[in-house]
């Protein structure tokens, strides 16, 4: 059961990684199109800045959950390298739980703020994209990343308790 849940979460995070790369390339392509339009037609594409901000925001929050499974979030192993595997797993599990706590807070209070700004009708500066479209990525991305952190925590804590590593195929 736990292994299946873990696999499903990894799959979602991987698709998030793919989406992240596509969104960044789209931001680059839009920027180039704007420069070409500016130099050939005399005027750029209206709202390029707003759209690039939206694309990068989406890319960032699609990528954060992937970082938990790929173990790319930077940590220092200077003092912990000599620990026994189960102690190390316990340490990693607790760290991931703290991460989940932070991400749940971000998602929750981000959601509160998003609701507030949607109520005010806040929009982006040039082409008036509702700010909610930006907030959705933060709230959704943080929530998915919190789930990823919980799965990673569960994996390490199970190893710390003497169980199997549910990620050994990844």
């Amino acid at each position: 059961m736990m292994r299946r849940l873990y696999d499903a979460a990894v799959a979602v995070a991987r698709w998030g990684g793919v989406a992240s790369l596509i969104l960044i390339v789209a931001a680059g392509a839009l920027t180039v199109a704007d420069i070409v339009s500016r130099s050939t037609l005399g005027s750029g594409i209206l709202g390029t800045t707003d759209l690039v901000q939206l694309l990068v925001m989406a890319a960032a929050f699609c990528a954060i959950p992937y970082g938990f499974f790929a173990d790319t979030h930077v940590s220092v192993d200077l003092l912990t390298d000599g620990l026994k595997p189960r102690s190390l797993a316990a340490l990693k599990g607790c760290s991931a739980l703290m991460g989940a706590l932070l991400l749940v807070g971000m998602a929750w209070y981000g959601g509160v703020q998003a609701k507030l700004e949607a109520g005010y009708g806040d929009t982006s500066s040039t082409i008036e994209i509702p700010k909610l479209y930006y907030w959705v990525w933060l709230v959704g991305g943080s929530a998915v990343a919190a789930v990823a952190a919980v799965m990673v925590a569960a994996r390490h804590l199970m190893v710390a308790a003497g169980g199997d590593d549910i990620a050994r195929r990844h």
């Binding site: 991987r14 998030g16 990684g17 793919v18 992240s20 790369l21 960044i24 390339v25 931001a27 680059g28 392509a29 839009l30 920027t31 180039v32 704007d34 420069i35 800045t49 690039v52 901000q53 990068v56 925001m57 890319a59 960032a60 929050f61 699609c62 990528a63 954060i64 959950p65 992937y66 970082g67 790929a70 790319t72 979030h73 930077v74 940590s75 220092v76 192993d77 200077l78 003092l79 912990t80 190390l88 340490l91 990693k92 760290s95 703290m98 991460g99 706590l101 932070l102 807070g105 971000m106 209070y109 981000g110 959601g111 509160v112 703020q113 930006y134 907030w135 933060l138 943080s142 990343a145």
Partner: protein, 432 residues
């Protein structure tokens, strides 16, 4: 307890959590929120926890970071690094230690389209290490040269570290990029001198290669026109004001992708590797930015940076002395911490002091990135050492045994950059 003491305590707890292997982003975020909860009512903390992550990711100028990451990833997977290596080797490979010199030159050139030290070191390890081993190079010099050469990617524009420093301190990213050119070239020359010194001490560690004919050299140069064009367009465009750093990054990312597609370098494995590197790096950087923003909100609330700046300014020490003390502090920190975390954790606390002492922010940015570079090859926590250890399957002690001439070269460069600020600030002063 006074608020700035809570700030100091927060700093100590973050360091302790980082040393206990908690990811840097989470340590900064958790301590930031905890500290804010002590200093402010929970309603304000909730507001900051909702808004600060948004503010950390929203600025348009931040788009420069993922775009340059993508440019570097595509450039690495498109085989540009190998062609650069072969081009430099064609000219200097017949020198004693020629392959090592070529590796330094190729690292500098690849850094010019990559922007990341770790990516430069990992890429050049794949390209240069097998070749140096084939030619009978000692593993000590061949691995050390890649680890050191890789750090050039952090200084030679476009530099992701300089971009992040610019965002944190509201210093012009374009000017910072241009400021990195001369120090980057100086670093290249000094690393080549370190290779020369190593081969003079023990000629057997790096034998000379074959001389390449002039037609062969012409062919090698013709192969790298795309790299030279990409660098020329991106940095030239920023320098002459044709476009902003973010636009330059967009051009670089799309240009590197177009080059990779045109030469049919992508297969499904390379594409998946590109996804893994991009998502892994982008996710890591943005989560650290969010953690740092929360931690900085706590530091500002504690008033620690302002009090620190006014107390040190009141001592009346000459700015150069303060700068030297800061450099020693960063060198020590670089032995146990990675570069990005160092910058994000300390710059908000240190920069008010730099402003109070009227030290040029561009000069300080270049010095900061230089010491961060040194930290990447300084044992025990030099990130590039670990990259080469993993990618090259070499014991860490072998790399460390060869790294000292390069650390000495870096110390000379740092002294020159402190003694002659014009090396950093002259080129930006000419900008449009």
């Amino acid at each position: 307890m006074e608020s700035h003491f809570i700030g100091v305590l927060g700093f100590a707890i973050v360091l302790a959590l980082i040393l206990a292997r908690m990811p840097v982003a989470i340590a900064m975020g958790i301590v930031g929120v905890g500290g804010l909860a002590i200093l402010q009512p929970w309603k304000s903390v909730g507001f900051l926890l909702g808004t600060q992550p948004f503010e950390a990711v929203y600025p348009y100028s931040l788009s420069v970071v993922p775009l340059f990451i993508v440019m570097g990833v595509f450039a690495a997977h498109a085989g540009l690094s190998r062609q650069l290596y072969q081009a430099v080797y064609a000219f200097i490979g017949h020198w004693r230690g020629g392959l090592a010199h070529a590796t330094i030159g190729a690292c500098a050139a690849f850094g010019a389209i990559c922007g990341s030290s770790i990516a430069t070191a990992a890429t050049m390890c794949r390209v240069a290490l097998p070749e140096m081993r084939r030619r009978g190079y000692d593993d000590r010099i061949s691995t050390a040269v890649i680890a050191a050469g890789g750090t050039l990617g952090i200084m030679i524009p476009p530099s992701i570290m300089l971009a992040i420093y610019g965002l944190l301190t509201e210093t012009s990213i374009g000017k910072l990029f241009v400021a990195g050119i001369l120090p980057g070239l100086l670093g290249t020359a000094l690393y080549m001198s370190a290779v020369k010194a190593s081969t003079l001490i023990d000629p057997k560690v790096a034998p000379a290669g074959d001389r390449v004919s002039w037609p062969g050299r012409g062919k090698a140069i013709a192969e790298v026109w795309a790299v030279l064009a990409l660098f020329g367009v991106v940095i030239g465009g920023i320098y002459f004001g044709f476009f902003s750093p973010t636009e330059g990054a967009g051009v670089g990312a799309v240009g590197a992708l177009a080059f990779a597609i045109a030469r049919r370098y992508f297969d499904s494995k390379k594409l998946w590797d590109a996804v893994h590197e991009t998502a892994g790096t982008v996710g890591m950087i943005f989560l650290i930015l969010i953690g740092a923003t929360l931690f900085n909100a706590f530091l500002e609330t504690s008033r620690l940076p302002a009090i620190l700046a006014s107390e040190i300014a009141a001592l009346g020490l000459p700015p150069t002395v303060v700068l030297l003390v800061l450099m020693v502090f960063y060198l020590a920190l670089g032995c146990v911490m990675d570069s990005l975390s160092m910058i994000l954790l300390t710059v908000p606390a240190v920069f008010p002091l730099i402003q109070a002492l009227q030290i040029d922010p561009i000069w300080f940015g270049v010095l900061l990135v230089t010491v961060v570079e040194i930290g990447m090859i300084t044992p025990p926590v030099g990130m590039n050492l670990f990259v080469i250890q993993g990618a090259g399957r070499v014991p860490l002690r072998t790399i460390i045994a060869g790294i000292w001439p390069f650390i000495a070269a870096d110390a000379i460069r740092l002294a020159l950059l402190i003694g002659f600020p014009a090396l950093s600030v002259w080129l930006p002063s000419l900008m449009v």
